[in-house]
């Protein structure tokens, strides 16, 4: 065996663990969820046609701030904090950032579940949905997103009420 072949074998062996590993090593700290088929259709709405809204939300960085502020506020919001108990907040932050980025025309893919599956058995009511809207409005204002642009994102999220509110 020449030197070249030895190197190739070593390379193959090193590459092998990645190829056969657990399918979720990309997201350390997250709990596993029941199998589902990832699709951008799961994001629950069609994305904006251009990047203007993505820019109005200050890109990936702005969306990251907004989602982190939203989740921090929601888990401390006495109206809805119970809903977030025992939920995977690491996964929630990641998938929300993916969803907002995708919907706002920032590209990328949404890898999460659809709205129905993601909110199954949570017993969410209208008042919970609206409380989260208010927390999101607060987070978007904190990031300095203009009110008109906030409403354009809310217009995409509002119809998800049909799948999210089950009680």
């Amino acid at each position: 065996m020449n030197c070249f072949a030895l190197l190739a074998l070593a390379a193959a062996l090193m590459a092998a663990p990645a190829a056969f590993a657990d399918p979720s090593p990309d997201h350390p700290g997250e709990q596993t969820v029941d199998p589902y088929t990832p699709s951008n259709a799961n994001a629950g709405a069609r994305p904006m046609g251009d990047k203007a809204m993505f820019d109005a939300f200050h890109g990936r960085e702005g969306i990251s701030h907004i989602v982190d502020s939203l989740v921090d506020r929601a888990v401390a919001d006495p109206r809805i904090s119970d809903i977030f108990k025992n939920q995977d907040l690491v996964r929630l932050r990641r998938t929300l950032k993916e969803q907002f980025t995708y919907l706002l025309g920032g590209g990328g893919d949404y890898s999460g579940r659809d709205m129905k599956a993601a909110h199954k058995d949570m017993g969410i009511q209208d008042a919970d949905f609206n409380a989260l809207v208010e927390d999101l409005q607060w987070a978007m204002s904190k990031e300095g997103v203009p009110f008109r642009d906030q409403n354009r994102l809310l217009a995409l999220l509002a119809p998800m009420h049909r799948d999210v509110v089950t009680k």
């Binding site: 709405a45 209208d126 009110f147 809310l154």
Partner: protein
């Protein structure tokens, strides 16, 4: 005497409405009813007839800060100050499960010194009670953003005026009447606009302040009322309204009404509406334009 009696009736009516609401809230824990929960201003404000709407128009939204899981209620005091007249309205409404709205308004149309000029006597006041019921038929003004379908509601308003003799003297046919309406309201979030279009079937002269039906025309007329509002913040909306009216009385022509309004919600319990209203000609006094102010408190 008559005035204090009216106020007393109004106070009892309000107490009953609030008691009804409180009763609902009291049984809330048992039935898992839920207090509050509407987004700011999505229940509109209290209009001159006590229903939720803009200032002049009645909307399809259900009053009170409740969702389909609860009961809400609000009270409002409104003053429309015109050059020749002053209209004061005290009203209350109860919203049940974001489905049914029951409302009551007591209107005092004070002719002030104009009453003397009309031969009625200074300070002559028409008092009218408006009992309203509205039911949401279909759609959701807020959530259905992926559809053109508005929220649609049907309602009626039973109006009783206490100045029957004067109403008949000026050609009016009745001191009481019923208005029927179909309202469609939609929030266009993408444009930050709220739009309402309402069709009203009515015989009311100056919304009933001058009675129902007249010597010139004594049949129901289809009328239109509409609002358009622009959301500046989640607390603040500005807009305009228009309301067409019948012209039933021979002694004085009746004009359509319009306004420019601004409504501010301090929180889910308190809102203030200010408007510049043009009511045209009322009982031969032309160009009745003035300030509309309304304060609403509720839960």
């Amino acid at each position: 005497m008559a005035k204090s009696f009216k106020l007393c009736v109004w106070a009892v009516g309000m107490a009953a409405a609030l008691g009804f609401g409180a009763l609902g809230a009291g049984t809330a824990s048992a039935q898992a009813l839920r207090e509050g929960g509407k987004l700011l201003l999505t229940d509109g404000v209290s209009n001159i007839e006590g229903a939720s709407g803009g200032g002049l128009a009645t909307w399809a939204v259900i009053g009170g800060d409740e969702t389909k899981d609860g009961i809400g209620a609000s009270v409002a005091a409104t003053d429309v100050h015109l050059p020749a007249y002053d209209l004061r309205v005290y009203s209350g409404k109860v919203g049940l499960y974001n489905r049914l709205e029951l409302s009551y308004a007591h209107q005092e149309f004070d002719t002030g010194s104009t009453g003397g000029k009309l031969g009625l006597g200074d300070g002559f006041t028409f008092d009218q009670d408006v009992y309203g019921a509205k039911v949401r038929l279909l759609g959701d003004a807020v959530y259905d953003q992926d559809s053109w379908l508005p929220q649609v509601a049907a309602g009626l308003q039973y109006k009783v005026n206490d100045k029957s003799a004067i109403i008949h003297a000026v050609g009016g046919k009745s001191a009481e009447g019923v208005d029927y309406y179909l309202a469609a309201t939609k929030l266009f979030l993408n444009e930050s606009l709220v739009v309402d279009a309402t069709f009203r079937y009515t015989k009311a002269n100056q919304t009933g302040i001058l009675g129902f039906g007249g010597d010139k025309h004594d049949a129901y007329s289809p009328e239109f009322e509409g609002s358009i509002g622009y959301l500046l913040t989640r607390h603040f909306v500005i807009g305009a309204e228009y309301r067409t009216k019948p012209d039933n009385l021979g002694f004085a022509k009746e004009d359509n009404w319009s306004d420019l309004f601004a409504a501010y919600a301090f929180n889910s319990h308190l809102s203030l509406t200010a408007a510049y209203v043009d009511t045209g000609s009322i009982a031969t006094f032309e160009n009745q334009r003035g300030l509309y102010l309304s304060l609403q408190a509720g839960f």
